[in-house]
Amino acid sequence: MLAPEGTDEDWIRRAQTGDRTAFPELVRRHQTAIYRFLLRMLGSHEDALELSQDTFIKAWQALPQWQPEAQFRTWLFRIASNTALDALRRRKLVEFVPLEESFDAPDSGPDPERQAQATQEVRQLAASLQKLAPEHRQVLLLREVEEMSYEEIGHVLALSEGTVKSRLARARAALIEIHARRRP
């Protein structure tokens, strides 16, 4: 009997051989990261939930072709990132309310003034992120939020490590510029 803490590869093999309980386990392991990434990419909870499901369905459909050399997480993020870019292209440039716009610091906090400042800073970053080119947003999220190495990001985005390095530098510079323009 395989323990729930088996590797992704164990669960993939089970799913590939027709075990109906195996794929839901894989979804459960990765759903938070995939949802979080898609939410930051799309800026909408509804879209993130929908596209998370689409990502896992596509992964399910492609599972017979999955090779053990590929890391399941980066393979999944590759599907998610393509799904997000497709959705953004379809949507064109519809402006969304930044995620943290409705996000308020609790007023009973120990230091409300400081919390309000922190909230403001987080709001500004989230809003600036939404103004960034999707390709830049994507690479920054993979690095700063998902904490992937350049090698892993290269696998997700099908880029050389050198290109990942230069894209990240340009993305940071662009985000700082947008961020600076928004500062009072």
Partner: protein, 157 residues
Amino acid sequence: MNPAEECPRTEALSAWVDNELGEAVRAELAAHVAGCAICAPVLAEFRQLHGAFAALPELAPDVDIAPLVDRRIAAAAAQPQTPPRPPPQRMRWWQAVPLALGGVLSLSLGAYLGSMLMLGSQATAQPAMRQMAAFTAIPPGALALCPTRQTCNPLER
């Protein structure tokens, strides 16, 4: 001079923040930045940005996506391989149920319920809609997920 090494050395500084530099390269860059008025503020900004990302609230779905995916997979598997037949002209009994319940539910919702049933799904529309509604709000106190106040406000340091 290699154009990549012009100041600010944006790529190298960015890779430093990401811990992707070899020790020798990092030491050389550190020595350079210590005396460079162009690179030093860029490095500071990159580090500040890194801290701001760390302070972003944790966002997690408040529904379990696994059963939603599983349901869609089961529904797809239940579909016949032959092209779908045109929909029946006569109303099926399950489409009539919402009307019989007092007309609160629209015919389109009835048709939706009907289509869900036809796919052989265990789901009803109602829980799905409740899940969506629960989704529109960011959980209160999300800021409290930041481990310390300092990491919540890195740009003040």
